[in-house]
């Protein structure tokens, strides 16, 4: 609905006072050209030879030339209405640039212990794929809730966030304490990355973590 309203609002704006001046100039020019053409037609009428070939009288012949004119004008109109936007686009269009990643090897800082209450998650990117090739592999860091800490033997765990089924991104669901893949309902155990239920067969790859004195957490590499 808004597109239509927007269109009519702009149509009104286009017929505003400044544009009306342009329209006036255009109409005046059209009038001059039209009157000129009519005068020229009648002025040269007597100079033109009469058509007298059999099967085509003057009437159909002038209609044919009129139609040919329509034909050519229509083609010219189509070409003009292609060229006008195209030239504008090519002249005024600009290009986006940005920083290209340097592919650095320093393990990135993911988070600080103080920022992460128990039962929370942070997403980050591994600079290497699990097979060791350089890449950008989505991963997830979880601060386990108290009852799971004893099972896992540590407070912070990190896994590849790429579901082993079809490669969707898994997320941590704090209400059920599971890693969940929204594509096809795959459930993973956050203490060890193993599959609980759903279509995936293989567990999530674990990531080695290093926690500094000041509480900064770094991803060391694939476990």
């Amino acid at each position: 609905m808004s597109t239509v309203e927007h269109f009519f609002a702009n149509l009104l704006a286009a017929t505003s006072l400044t544009n009306l001046k342009n329209l006036g100039i255009a109409l005046f020019l059209a009038l001059v050209v039209g009157v000129g053409a009519i005068i020229y037609y009648f002025y040269t009428k007597s100079l033109r030879p009469k058509h007298n070939n059999p099967g085509s009288n003057e009437r159909t012949s002038s209609r044919r030339s009129f139609l040919a004119g329509v034909f050519v004008l229509a083609l010219a109109g189509v070409v003009a209405q292609f060229l006008l936007p195209l030239l504008e686009l090519l002249r005024k269009g600009t290009v986006v640039t940005g920083e290209i990643s340097s592919g650095q090897e320093i393990p990135p800082k993911i988070a600080n212990v103080a920022e992460m209450p128990p039962d929370s998650q942070v997403s980050f990117v591994m600079r290497r794929n699990p097979d060791g090739s350089p890449g950008q592999h989505p991963a997830i860091l979880i601060h386990l809730p108290e009852d799971k800490v004893a099972l896992a033997g540590k407070e912070f765990v990190a896994y590849s966030a790429v579901c082993t089924h079809l490669g969707c991104i898994v997320g941590y669901r704090s209400e059920e304490d599971v890693l969940f893949c929204p594509c096809h309902a795959g459930y993973f155990d956050p203490t060890n990355g193993k599959v609980i239920s759903g279509p995936p067969k293989k567990p999530l790859r674990e990531i080695k973590l290093r926690i500094e004195e000041n509480g900064d957490i770094y991803a060391e590499g694939w476990a």
């Binding site: 597109t3 239509v4 269109f7 702009n10 149509l11 704006a13 286009a14 544009n19 342009n22 329209l23 255009a26 030879p49 058509h51 007298n52 070939n53 012949s61 209609r63 009129f66 139609l67 040919a68 329509v70 034909f71 004008l73 229509a74 109109g77 189509v78 003009a80 209405q81 006008l84 936007p85 195209l86 504008e88 686009l89 090519l90 005024k92 269009g93 600009t94 986006v96 940005g98 920083e99 290209i100 997403s123 980050f124 990117v125 794929n129 090739s133 350089p134 890449g135 950008q136 989505p138 790429v162 079809l166 490669g167 969707c168 991104i169 997320g171 929204p182 594509c183 096809h184 279509p199």
Partner: protein, 468 residues
Amino acid sequence: MRRAGPEESCIKKFVRWLIERTGASDFTKTIIPRHALHPMYSLGGLASLMFFLLAFTGIIQLMFYTPAFGEENIAYESVRHFTESVPYGFVVRGIHSYAATLLVLLSMLHFLRVYFTGAYAKPRELTYVVGIAAGLFSIASAFLGYSLRMDHISVEAMRIGQFLVLQLPGGNWLYSLIFGSGSFDEIIPRFLALHIGVAGLIGVVLLLHFYMIHAHHISPPYDDNDPEPAIPFYPNFLLTELAAAVVVIGALVMFSAAFPPELGFKFVFGEELPVGQPEWYLMALYALIKTGIDPVLAGFVIPSIGLLIFVIMPWVDPLYSRHPMNRRIATTYGLIFVGEYVMLFMYGQLTPGEQIPLINALLLSIAVATVMGYVGIRLTSRPVPPKRTPKQSSNGNPSYAVRVLLKNVWWIAGLLLALALVLGGLGMMSHLSESYYDAAMLFGGSIILLGWAFFVAKVGLVDAKYLT
């Protein structure tokens, strides 16, 4: 100045010289059967128009697309910038997006028309096979193309593509061949190159397709029931197609200005996004993968077998008649395939982000196969004899309506042209005041009217002689 007698105008002389020297006189002599103007037989032509539009808008977009991921998804930003800040960018992207969808849709419909009317019959088997290749390349190129936007849908599609490649025998080798290291900075330029490369392949295959159509001529109607007389390819048929193309282009311009295709959510690492659904033409395949059967089976083996049966059908189908009701094997298989495709498409569409239980899919596909198979066998149970009496032609004696139309054709054309020029003038004003949205709408409307004016003028100029 027009002169009486046998002398020609210099333009006509030049056109004649051009046709002769370019060796195109072969085309000017070609006669097209009347049924080629029927909408059902125009689908292939429309699809190839979409291809040319895609090439044109693609080249423009290529000048503004940045094929890099960088720190924060530069590719997506460049697409967004092109749509929002480059004059007429939204129209160009809109046409590219809609034309891609239409190319796949029209190719599919064209395929179904050819298949069910038995147009692949001897000697046109290879035209048919080459056409199937063009359709498959179109889908591949469309997939690669919509991955380039780098929104949540693209990333999902890329992930599934990567996963499927890894499942193949020799998957790791193939993976590094196609995706490099697998980082987005490497995938995006590769996908861009492949997108254009595959599009170029479509062009080559289409040329082959056209060449073979020219060599073997357009297939006669399946029931030998062609309304006479045939029409000359040049100028009648060519100009009709041109007028139709202009109208379709104008409609596409207006449509993409009124409903610019949406750009999905920007993909950034570590941000949770909704799960993207694939485009509609891949939905059936996606649903098949979602049933949880072996991905190689679902993603490659089953679709390949389904398509291979189509490919070999010209040599399987007994061709004593091309009428669909006389070809039991072809018609029944076609109906079953279409039924399964539609069923899987709908199942996939209705279950976004959910697994499809294998047993449900299996039972449904058996049910669909039974119903469609039954319909196919019933339809082909009684042979249809060929019609020997062609329809009475109205040649030389146009109806009253046609005569009135021909008499008034000149002012209809003039009126259409005048209306188009008014719209074009308004568009010009919007263009000068830099409101490109309105300009695109008005130019689109004007192009549609110009197409009609072109058509009506053509009727008066070249068809009048031929109709009366």
